[in-house]
């Protein structure tokens, strides 16, 4: 097993880093002091040199985002932390907030200094109650200890909508409006929260920032792989022996993560698919898992690094059922603002159901493809595309299985398929508004 180099979760095994004194004892909040001794220009330069790429999914360099903020604007500048972790399969931010909230807070203070902001909002997923309580307590403790200076940090709980993890929908929600994405441009660095310059980053991105200050950008940039320095917490779920979070250097081979860290597939079963970035990305086949886990390597084989959340699927799983489970989730979470996503995801669910039930024809496979095409690249935000990417990849790589459903007049697994542990069905939290029929 390769040496594990921890950044985000460093010290969490030995210390209770929810406590300010323990975090300080391992050198916590020294990064803020260093940062505050620098000008914001120098700090942004340092962040850009570190080439820290956004861990929320898009991989946009954090330092460059900060450099886009108009610090001379007469409006207030805002830092918003996206802690609305909702991607099926992702549970990395949760671990950071639960185990080392001060690292996130320290990252906030450094990033706020860089963009000359005094107002930080942490938008945390509503269901993360325990994490919220830990984080809020840590914020209180740090504030009372006088670490904040003139900065205020507000922890705001979401209300249970996946779409609010989309940055502009998050801003709408934070402003007290219905959580729906905004058209872009204007992008948040130009016109974000309350139409003011706004930096938005994921929890893990911001929580990595103190380490950049501690190591120095030049040293940090040498970790991981050159195109993606640093570590990532990989959430591994599905059919592995030891599901959980593993913080590893970027560039670690996927095979190593699955078979060494996560214990591989249970005896007697075979790997069938890996969805590498949370349920929204194209799946990989077993012959593709020697890929290094970093943004560019995964991009090169047609998928996404996404939320660094691997869903491992073994051979008991029916890919049509998996497609249905995934699509139902996105149909349920579609915000309803733009037409292709609102209508297309429901239509996809209907087509997939008819394939699974054996009432579809081969023409329905073409239809499914075509409906997906009419969503891709035509939607207001990425949610609609998240519904299509995985399904299109299943249809492409496991087409035989889809065809078998049609020829067999139903699911060839005949009830023996298992999706146990592979993301949760959306039905468990689906609700039907009073007086209305269910979605499909």
């Amino acid at each position: 097993m390769a040496e594990v180099h921890e950044v985000l979760l460093a010290g969490t095994d030995e210390h209770d880093l929810r406590r300010l004194d323990e975090y300080r004892a391992i050198g916590g909040y020294r990064g803020v002091e260093k940062a505050r001794a620098m000008t914001s220009d120098a700090l942004i330069e340092e962040l850009q040199a570190a080439n820290l790429r956004g861990r929320g999914g898009a991989g946009f360099p954090m330092g460059r985002k900060a450099s886009l903020i108009d610090r001379k604007s007469p409006k207030p500048k805002y830092l918003v932390v996206n802690a609305d972790e909702s991607e099926p399969g992702a549970f990395k931010d949760r671990e950071v907030m639960a185990k080392v909230p001060h690292r996130l807070i320290e990252g906030c203070l450094i990033a706020a200094h860089a963009i000359e902001s005094t107002d930080v909002f942490i938008y945390i997923r509503g269901e993360y109650l325990t994490e919220y309580e830990i984080l809020a307590a840590a914020v209180d403790e740090a504030r009372e200890a006088g670490i904040f200076g003139d900065v205020t940090i507000t922890v705001h709980r979401g209300a249970g909508a996946y779409i609010c993890g989309e940055e502009t929908a998050l801003l709408e929600s934070l402003e007290g409006k219905r959580g729906q994405p905004r058209p872009r441009p204007p992008f948040p660095p130009i016109q974000g929260l309350y139409a003011a310059p706004t930096q938005i980053n994921n929890v893990c991105t911001i929580a990595t920032v103190p380490m950049i200050l501690e190591m120095g950008a030049a040293e940090f940039a040498k970790t991981g792989v050159p195109s993606s320095p640093g570590t990532a917490i990989f959430s591994v779920s599905g059919n592995v022996v030891r599901p959980g979070n593993y913080e590893l250097d970027l560039g670690t081979p996927m095979r190593e993560l699955i078979y060494e860290h996560a214990g591989g597939i249970a005896a007697g079963r075979e790997l069938k698919a890996v969805i590498p970035g949370g349920s929204s990305v194209p799946a990989l086949t077993p012959d593709q898992i020697d890929v290094p886990l970093d943004y560019d390597s995964l991009g090169a084989i047609g998928t996404f690094f996404g939320a660094a959340s691997l869903i491992v699927v073994d051979d008991r799983c029916c890919m049509v059922q998996l497609a249905l489970r995934s699509t139902k989730f996105y149909a349920h979470e579609s915000c309803g603002k733009c037409t292709p996503c609102r209508v297309g995801t429901r239509w996809m669910v209907q087509i997939l159901e008819s394939i699974e039930n054996g009432t579809a024809t081969l023409a329905d496979l073409e239809l499914l493809d075509s409906v997906g095409d009419n969503i891709l690249g035509k939607v207001l935000c990425a949610l609609g595309e998240f519904a299509v990417y995985p399904v299109a990849s299943y249809l492409d790589k496991w087409r035989d299985e889809f065809v078998a459903h049609i020829e067999h007049g139903g699911c060839p697994f005949e009830g023996s398929s298992s999706l146990d542990g592979i993301v949760a069905p959306s039905d468990q939290h689906a609700h039907t508004p009073a007086g209305q029929e269910a979605l499909v």
Binding site: R178, C335, R342, G377, K378
Partner: protein, 722 residues
């Protein structure tokens, strides 16, 4: 928007537009249509929701929504006409929009005038690939007595909710739920109430939001839209009356960008069914001793009118409503003043030409830096669309002030005054204020007086233009001529009638004149008249006869009567107008007034002498005192009273109190309070309004029980329950 011109290429055609122009407009300038559903510039920033306007932009990998893009120099755009990718995107969007749409066009009232139908015909797929169950919803949902919602037809373009949020700012229409189950609804399913709700039925690009009055009432090929002007308030919104088989079926806006921007109020939109009210008069009525009013023929009625007029020559007093056309008022004036030497007339309010130096189009309010709203009558109750302009100004960053002495005015370049209270001396007071502030001749500066009557200015012009004689004060009234429903409904006028030897009333409704008139001549509605109105801007506008009245038009019988007294009055509006115009409107011809009239100056218009007595200034409340403003609500009057579906809009019996006064008296919203003055008192629930000035309380006049001026307000002690 910048004045810098940029070059944009749309489908290989170069066009130069100001930088920042929307791409939909840029394409239009290049002669290219980009279809849209959700895009509507009047609703504020584009939202990019429907995805109908997808275009290809050079240098951008994905299709872009034209509605959210603005023109930048060198931009190259390909629409569906030249880009297969864009055409495919558009086709896909239309297919999606139709997936759950019921396609019940044959029974949908929008069919034939439906953007979804039109764009599907032009750009859509010829058939459907949707073979699964469509989403169904309970329908239609009455979101108010005037608007029905069909959620199955809804394509969720969010035009209606954006209107409610960003134009009328009533925040009542919202989207609930998520994804395909998203629905338009009102908060807590309360009826959608407010002055402007009906506009959403015109904004809706499908048959989802329909006026209940128009459901199943007409197909587009059976109707004709007649352009006219609303005659229910002094704004004079430009409207179309949809007519089928001689009946008005609905009223639509007809965008005049300087007056109404295409928004009309619910009174203007929904009150038209008063034309067919149960007590609508078609036959003249004559008082017969002991038997009351009895129907008589027109011949008999005119003979009787002639007899009454002849008997009272020189001793006739006329009460005008301010809702007559310029031509009617002039014809009546000519008959009574020239023919019968009777010059005494009363208008319901004072009218002054003093504001002519401060004339502006209403749209200038939107562009102002500061708007001073003076007086405590809510603007929306008196001239509803003006309220939308003030809101637009506030959204644009203007300061909305309530004091012409506010120091903030010193910094504002464009200042507009709006008088919305009593005691403005017909605009003379606000003109004085404008002069004091030095607004004359300053660009974007001006002043408006909001009169209570729709054509008070035009009627005063006409009455004055007819004759220069003044006539002596009368010792007794030989005959009272009451013109129009507003005058007929006025209790002071009825009191005056008791002093007169006889009374002639012209009124649309029997209910208004029973009991006190000696002769009743049926009146017409503004929707049945040809003629002109002068609105609160001083803009002369053209009314058109949209349907035939059930009785002869006023001009017809006035001309007949005038002939009997040797006076020449033409029975046609065009001819009467020509006479008035020669005297006050610079010789403009009837045809030149125009369908979307410009704001003209009329140098000949005279300073009118006031005949109605109004207090010069409002009594000032001393510290701690409260002055009660009893205002006439928008949803009131003879027409509104006769429209069943508008009754929910009438004001609740409640007293509006400022936050200051409420706090001082420990009154909260919902508490019962007594309002008293001079020994009489009323008890009403209170509502605290944070926008109201301290020292002012407000109540709709119909709930005021005659109270006004300085009042005592006290909370009713709560009953002690065991």
């Amino acid at each position: 928007m910048s004045t810098e011109l940029v070059r944009v290429t749309i489908d290989e055609r170069d066009v130069h537009v100001p930088k920042g122009t929307g791409i939909v407009e840029t394409a239009l300038a290049a002669g290219v249509e980009i279809p849209v559903f959700c895009y509507e510039p009047r609703l504020g920033a584009p939202v990019g929701a429907c995805r109908m306007c997808l275009v290809e932009v050079e240098g951008m990998p994905k299709l872009q929504t034209a509605c959210t893009l603005t023109a930048q120099d060198g931009m190259v755009v390909k629409t569906a006409r030249t880009s297969e990718k864009s055409a495919a995107g558009q086709k896909g969007t239309l297919e999606f929009l139709l997936v759950n749409h019921p396609l019940d066009c044959p029974v949908c009232d929008k069919g034939g005038e439906c953007p979804l139908q039109d764009l599907t015909f032009r750009y859509g797929p010829g058939n459907t690939r949707m073979s699964y169950d469509k989403l169904t919803f309970e329908k239609p949902i009455p979101i108010s007595p005037t608007i029905a919602l069909d959620r199955e037809r809804c394509i969720l373009c969010y035009r209606c909710t954006r209107f409610s949020e960003s134009v009328s700012e009533d925040l009542q229409l919202i989207a609930a739920n998520r994804g395909a189950l998203s629905v338009i609804t009102t908060f807590e399913d309360l009826p959608y109430t407010g002055a402007f709700t009906g506009n959403v039925t015109e904004l809706c690009p499908v048959g989802a939001l329909l006026p209940t009055q128009y459901r199943f009432e007409g197909r587009p090929w059976e109707i004709v839209d007649v352009p006219t002007v609303c005659g229910l308030c002094p704004v004079g919104c430009n409207v179309n009356a949809t007519v089928r088989e001689g009946n008005v079926k609905r009223i639509l806006s007809r965008n005049h960008p300087e007056i109404d921007e295409g928004w009309i109020c619910d009174k203007g939109r929904f009150a038209f069914t008063h034309l067919r009210a149960e007590d609508r008069l078609a036959q003249p009525l004559q008082r017969v001793r002991r038997r009351g009013l009895e129907a008589i023929s027109w011949e008999q009625a005119l003979d009787e009118a002639e007899r009454l007029l002849r008997a009272a020559r020189g001793r006739i007093v006329t009460v005008l409503s301010g809702s007559e056309t310029v031509e009617q008022a002039y014809a009546l004036a000519k008959l009574l003043r020239v023919g019968l030497d009777s010059h005494q007339a009363t208008l319901p309010e004072e009218i002054s030409g003093g504001l002519d130096a401060y004339r502006l189009p209403l749209s200038a309010i939107r562009d102002a830096d500061a708007v001073v709203v003076l007086g405590d009558v809510p603007v929306v109750e008196r001239a509803p669309v003006v309220d939308l302009w003030v809101k637009a100004a506030r959204r644009n960053g203007a300061r909305i002030l309530d004091d012409a002495g506010d120091p903030a005015l010193a910094e504002a370049e464009r200042v507009v005054l709006v008088w919305s209270g009593p005691g403005g001396r017909g605009g003379a007071t606000v003109a004085q204020l404008a002069e004091k502030l030095g607004l004359a001749g300053r660009e974007g500066c001006g002043a408006f007086y909001l009169p209570e009557t729709p054509n008070g200015r035009g009627v005063a012009d006409a009455w004055a233009a007819c004759c220069d004689e003044e006539g002596a004060e009368l010792e007794s009234i030989g005959l009272l001529v009451v013109s129009g429903d507003e005058a007929a409904a006025d209790e002071n006028v009825r009191a005056l009638a008791e002093q007169a030897d006889a009374t002639i009333v012209t009124s649309m409704f029997g209910g208004l004149s029973a009991g006190w008139a000696d002769l009743v001549l049926p009146g017409t509605s503004y929707l049945e008249r040809d003629g002109t109105f002068v609105n609160l801007e001083g803009r002369l506008q053209r009314l058109r006869r949209t349907v035939e009245p059930p009785c002869p038009d006023e001009l017809e019988w006035i001309a007949d009567l005038a002939a009997r007294f040797g006076v020449d009055v033409a029975p046609y509006a065009a001819a009467v107008f020509a006479e008035v115009s020669d005297r006050v409107y610079g010789g403009l011809t009837f045809g030149e007034v125009g369908e979307r009239a410009p704001l003209r100056g009329y140098p000949e218009a005279q300073e009118h002498v006031s005949r109605a007595a109004l207090p010069a200034t409002e009594p000032k409340a001393r510290r701690g005192e409260i002055r009660l403003v009893a205002y006439k609500p928008l949803f009131s009057g003879a027409a509104v009273e006769r429209v069943a579906e508008l009754q929910f809009q009438r004001p609740q019996p409640e007293l509006e109190l400022s936050a200051d006064d409420a706090r001082r008296r420990k009154i909260a919203t919902g508490d019962l309070v007594t309002v008293g003055s001079n020994g009489s008192a009323i008890t009403l629930p209170a509502r605290v309004n944070r926008r109201l000035r301290a020292g002012v309380a407000r109540v709709a006049i119909e709930h005021a029980n005659g109270l006004g001026g300085i009042v005592e307000i006290e909370k009713v002690a709560e009953e002690v329950t065991a």
